[in-house]
């Protein structure tokens, strides 16, 4: 029997952030983590399951089950959710968080350092001032330039392992798997956790407060699997657990070919500025999102070349960029810009134009906000894993609105590229699904224990406590009611910090 004040299940971005918040605090903490310090096949295979709907890379490979969780393979791209993401948007079903973005700002500020980033500064103006950079002259009623920060990326397990090992009040139990959450007869209070190791060893955890931080799919799986008291699963009185699964569809939307060779790319290249590794991204304005009833989108522009080559070229280009003027000879360039109609491949392009300067062309990568849909969901199958737990079935559709928003967003970008005289855009053809081929999910598992003030509409309340259960909380992107289009981990960490504060105040 493991006893403590607080049990955190899962040591990924959310679980480790929570545990660190209690280091040196009077609360004693038990962290139960499924894996060890390295990837082990047998443990990883506990994640296996079935998938259907939008082509989804197997859930086994889209997350990692060992100390540090999926931060062992995350890419470190960070951007807070946009203000609009928190709002109720009449055109986006089930939208609206129980609080606005301002509520999270102090936690986002703290989350920066946890994610290995410099100070919270996502205002494009301050970066342009600093580097005397310019952004694309798009109509700000349509498209904006935003900033994203890029982490080293911090591997939470490696970075914070010793801090947790050294903490007198925190104990990490690696190779311990939660298999069942036990509750009182009324299912209003958790009484303990049953855990198992793959060696067959079993143990029980008993604490005052429990936090599930096992990732966006497993959080739902554990509630659904804990059906001894509530047959539909713990906290699932309103049939919300596992529903509303979302991920961000993403892929290459097309290419922008610039009519001048030396345009504007510096701001949009990932570079170290003021000790921060940052990059400009193109986002949709709130006006266009509401005016055209679209879900959120962002465009990430990338030159098809290595960073070192880019660094060299950029300094040479910077001067012409700073003296940005719209050239007046568009027609004479038009033929060259759109000459290569047969093949947009890099080699063919350079052969055609006899142009070895890769800055003439940028790849447009796009990430789209999926539509919350109760039928996109995690359910349990009758197959069982090595611990006897039922495996998952993951069914997901990004939604018609997401596809419509993608198509319109790309169109708006192409129109603005043409209107401003930057060049022309070639868009990816649609595949059979309506999405371009090779669009795929991002590995961001969102929504299955969604947050809503009303128990019949969500699984957790605004404090991330499971409705009607007084001592069970959930951490991770499974609590997001809507996904926005930005990478989730900064928000996961901000919410974990907020939850830690809440629990400290509660006790």
């Amino acid at each position: 029997m493991v006893e403590a004040d607080l049990c955190i299940v899962g040591a990924g971005a959310a679980g480790i952030t929570l545990a660190r918040e209690f280091v040196g605090h009077s609360t004693t903490v038990a962290v139960v983590e499924s894996g060890g310090l390295e990837l082990e096949d047998k443990t990883q295979s506990l994640y296996e399951g079935r998938v259907s709907g939008f082509p989804y890379r197997y859930p086994n490979t889209m997350r990692l089950r060992y100390f540090g969780g999926s931060t062992n393979h995350w890419s470190g791209n960070c951007r807070p959710l946009d203000e609009v993401d928190f709002l109720h948007r009449p055109w986006l079903p089930y939208s609206g968080w129980p609080f606005g973005r301002n509520e999270l700002i102090p936690y986002y500020q703290r989350a920066q350092a946890v994610c290995g980033l410099q100070a919270f500064d996502y205002a494009i103006e301050s970066w342009m001032d600093e580097a005397r950079l310019r952004n694309f002259p798009f109509d700000p009623k349509k498209l904006l330039t935003g900033i994203k920060h890029i982490s080293a990326p911090v591997r939470f397990g490696t970075a914070y392992r010793h801090e947790l090992e050294d903490a007198a009040n925190v104990t990490v139990y690696n190779h311990g798997n939660l298999t069942e959450i036990e509750a009182t007869e009324t299912a209003k209070h958790v009484t303990g956790l049953q855990c198992q190791c793959l060696t067959g060893k079993r143990f029980r955890v008993r604490t005052s407060i429990y936090i599930l931080a096992t990732g966006g799919i497993e959080n739902a799986r554990h509630l659904l699997a804990s059906d001894a008291i509530q047959s539909e699963g713990l906290g699932n009185g309103h049939d919300r657990v596992g529903r509303f699964f979302m991920d961000h569809p993403h892929g290459i939307a097309g290419w922008i070919v610039f009519r001048n060779r030396f345009n504007i790319v510096d701001l949009y290249q990932a570079k170290t500025r003021r000790n921060a590794f940052v990059k400009g991204v193109v986002t949709m304005s709130p006006q266009i999102l509401s005016g055209e009833a679209l879900s959120n989108i962002y465009f990430n522009l990338a030159a098809s070349m290595s960073r070192s080559e880019g660094e060299k070229s950029v300094s040479a280009l910077l001067q012409s960029f700073r003296e940005w003027e719209v050239p007046d000879d568009l027609l004479s360039h038009l033929g060259n810009i759109i000459a290569d109609l047969d093949d947009v491949g890099e080699a063919a392009y350079h052969r055609m134009t006899d142009n070895a300067d890769p800055f003439n062309k940028l790849r447009v990568h796009c990430r789209i906000e999926p539509t919350p849909d109760p039928d996109s969901r995690v359910t349990l199958t009758s197959d069982r894993d090595a611990l006897g737990m039922r495996r998952i079935d993951l069914h997901w559709k990004p939604g018609d609105l997401a596809l419509k928003s993608y198509n319109r967003g790309v169109e708006i970008l192409a129109l603005e590229v043409g209107r401003t005289g930057l060049g022309r855009m070639q868009v990816q053809p649609a595949g059979d699904s309506g999405w371009p081929d090779r669009f795929e999910p991002s590995g961001h598992h969102i929504g299955t224990t969604r947050m809503h003030a009303a128990p019949e509409k969500g699984v957790v309340d605004a404090n991330c406590r499971v409705h009607d259960i007084d001592n069970l909380y959930i951490a991770g992107s499974s609590v997001f009611p809507t996904a926005g289009c930005n990478n989730p981990t900064l928000t996961v960490v901000a919410l974990a910090l907020r939850l830690a504060d809440h629990i400290k105040n509660r006790s």
Binding site: G254, D328, D329, L330, L331, S332, H333, L334, G335, N336, I338, A339, L341, D342, V344, E411, A414, L415, E416, V417, G418, R419, G421, R424, M425, Q426, V427, Q428, P429
Partner: protein
């Protein structure tokens, strides 16, 4: 050389029917790279379907109708402005994935029809 096209009825008619030399000269002046303009034009024609040159001229004339211009530089500026307006008002055509303004696509078609022969 190019205070032509649709402003003056006589030239206009000549462009659309007999005087392909004047039209060719105009297009050569407009496009620095006529080979690629022809290539783009052919792709647009494949998208839109083949149309006689006179129709393209008529479309250009309609596009430029009412514009005051005196020389080729002015005409190029007017056309460039039209292209921007096309993008603003979403008058575009998608050709092999490229999002092009109708005006520029029309000019390329004109180049393909006129300069090819």
């Amino acid at each position: 050389m190019l205070p032509v096209l649709c402003r003056y009825e006589s030239r206009h008619t000549a462009l659309g029917t007999d005087d392909t030399n004047v039209l060719a000269e105009f297009l050569r002046d407009l496009f620095s790279n006529t080979t690629s303009a022809i290539k783009v034009g052919n792709a647009c024609i494949a998208e839109w379907g083949s149309v006689p040159a006179s129709e393209w001229v008529a479309e250009m004339c309609a596009t430029l109708d009412g514009e005051e211009f005196v020389d080729s530089k002015d005409l190029a500026a007017i056309i460039e402005n039209r292209i921007r307006e096309d993008f603003t008002h979403e008058r575009t055509i998608e050709v092999q994935g490229w999002i092009l303004s109708r005006t520029e696509a029309t000019l390329c078609c004109l180049a393909a029809n006129t300069l090819h022969s």
